[in-house]
């Protein structure tokens, strides 16, 4: 039974990825990605990695996918549901596929993987310990990266706002007054 569910989830993961790659409509591609991401979270649970699975949903589904959908839905082209993707080129795509497949296979065979089939145990505490003991430097670097990203986004947005305000000086004053 478990195997059946595993196969189902795996098919969903691969199918979602294929849909993302092959779909002509950008919204369908995004939905395929959504399906794939959720299925991968389920695969993590099969690996008894509940914390990672939930993180996957929180970050990728709740964060990244929402932003992706946000930008797709608000851009004007998305109203054409079945638009051709003009950026599709065969050779670059093939190149990327070969490179990434090579990397994935290399990682798969070089890493020392341990499987916990059918065994469920909490992993949060271990992950926490690892983060704060063995990999503290990496952890802190990642947090610095995120802070830099946030500040950068703020600066870029500010620039955009300033540019807009200069372009329409009179209007923006009125806007501010009305908002206050």
């Amino acid at each position: 039974m478990k195997d059946a569910i595993f196969i189902l989830v795996a098919v969903f993961a691969v199918g979602g990825a294929l849909l993302t790659a092959a779909s002509q409509s950008i919204i369908n591609a995004a939905l395929g990605l959504l399906l794939s991401l959720i299925s991968i979270a389920a695969l993590y649970i099969f690996q008894s990695a509940d914390f990672v699975a939930i993180s996957q949903i929180l970050v990728y589904v709740g964060g990244v996918m929402v932003l992706l959908l946000f930008s797709i839905m608000l851009s004007s082209g998305s109203t054409d549901f079945f638009k051709n993707n003009p950026a599709m080129k065969v050779f670059p795509a093939l190149l990327i596929v070969v490179v990434f497949a090579g990397l994935a296979i290399y990682a798969l065979f070089s890493a020392n993987l341990t499987f916990y089939p059918g065994q469920y145990g909490p992993s949060t505490r271990e992950i926490g310990n690892l983060f704060l003991k063995d990999y503290i430097l990496v952890f802190e670097l990642v947090s610095v990266l995120i802070v830099v990203m946030l500040v950068g986004a703020g600066v870029m947005l500010r620039k955009e706002l300033v540019r807009k305000a200069v372009a329409s000086d009179g209007d923006s004053k009125d806007e501010k007054e009305n908002k206050k």
């Binding site: 949903i57 589904v61 964060g63 959908l69 949060t124």
Partner: protein
């Protein structure tokens, strides 16, 4: 295999219970609103109108399921189910009693946060697929609001997790006690702040007044569900009222001692010599009482307050709640380092906060009676007058 069937049956029961509770809550909300607004509310179907929600359900099923001509039909169809599924999934780790829960997840709270963020996708898809500008605006507002308010909610949760040392709901409940002095809400100032952060952020994530801008009916007609009709519309509504239960249950678990109802008896550690089943039932009822008290508070807020504007909403989140949350999550670490549990200072702080809470409630009661006296109004505590 047996295990799987058990899981299936159990989740079916939960699903039905959630739908039933949400249905009854629609009735309760209308009754309370009626009482607040000097009118009666539904009182025709069944005794005092208690079966009104069933009548509404039947009516909703009978309605034509309209799909707008230019809508993206597939997404339009699945959006309400996505939303309802997300809300339903949040119920999984919530302990209504020591044994009355679906799955005792080790990452309980984290899981709930993840599911809450997953609901956003359903709302956005529903708003966008309707091909209606009001719906689109509603969906986008909803997404912006929910993503923003996840941060203060997570900070509130963070403080609780630090206090209890676990993300498991059972352990969080066990870290508190039955008496108000032991509850996290009165444990120390930072947990009190955490409660406020979490409760306000939950209101925003549940699209409730004063944060109901995604479906602000005077601005966006009905927001993301403008184009929905019939059963699909009801699914959005079930999700909304189901969410009330979820918010109430989460607040109860995390800050108000969960189902521990007997002093020195904690929910997951039944004391020896006592009948566990009796305590399970009593704990369950006590949990439900607390949950529905918070549901009542949310309904009460909804029928009292106006709605915020979107920039004010974002201001509250990013300018006040997030900094306050960050400072208090730093504060709680320092507090826990310097003031060990059950030390004298800890006890004094707990007692002070609890009595402050009691005084606030009493003062509120006094004010209500004073105002009633001024306006010479009559109060009917019984909603069935």
């Amino acid at each position: 295999m047996i295990n799987l069937i058990y899981m299936f049956v159990f989740s079916l029961v939960y699903l039905l219970l959630l739908a039933l509770t949400a249905g009854i809550l629609t009735y309760v909300e209308r009754r309370i609103a009626g009482r607040m607004q000097s009118r009666i509310g539904p009182n025709r179907v069944g005794i005092q109108g208690i079966l009104q929600f069933i009548a509404d359900l039947i009516k909703g099923v009978q309605k034509e399921d309209i799909i707008p001509a230019d809508a993206y039909a597939f997404l339009f169809k699945i959006a309400p189910y996505l939303v309802f599924m997300g809300v339903f999934l949040t119920l999984v780790p919530i302990p209504f009693g020591a044994y009355t829960l679906m799955e005792d997840l080790d990452v309980g709270i984290y899981y709930v946060l993840a599911m809450a963020s997953y609901v956003v996708i359903g709302l956005m898809i529903g708003g966008w697929a309707s091909n209606n500008k009001w719906s689109l605006l509603g969906g986008m507002r909803s997404a912006a609001q929910k993503i923003s308010y996840e941060i203060p909610a997570a900070l509130g949760v963070f403080i609780v997790v630090i206090m209890s040392g676990s993300m498991n709901f059972q352990k969080i409940v066990a870290a508190q006690g039955a008496s108000p002095v032991d509850w996290f809400v009165f444990r120390n100032p930072f947990t009190f702040i955490a409660f406020n952060l979490f409760f306000i952020a939950s209101l925003a994530e549940g699209n409730r007044v004063p944060f109901d801008i995604p479906e602000a009916e005077s601005e966006l007609v009905s927001g993301y569900n403008t184009e929905y009709s019939g059963m699909r519309f009801l699914f959005f509504f079930l999700a909304e009222w189901g969410n009330l239960v979820v918010i109430g249950a989460l607040v109860t678990c995390m800050f108000f001692g969960g189902g521990s109802f007997w002093y020195e008896w904690k929910i997951s550690i039944p004391a020896p010599g006592r009948d566990p089943i009796v305590f399970e039932v009593l704990g369950f009822l006590w949990f439900l009482f607390k949950t529905f008290f918070f549901v009542f508070v949310i309904i009460w807020i909804r029928w009292t307050l106006p709605r915020l504007r979107i920039d004010q909403l974002m201001d509250i989140c990013w300018k006040y709640m997030v900094p306050i949350g960050l400072i208090s999550s730093l504060g709680i670490v320092i507090w826990m380092y310097f003031i060990p549990e059950n030390s004298t200072i800890d006890r004094i702080v707990r007692l002070t906060l609890t009595s402050l809470g009691a005084i606030t409630v009493l003062y509120f009661k006094y004010r209500v009676y004073k105002n009633l006296k001024i306006t010479k109004a009559t109060i009917y505590a019984n909603p069935f007058v």
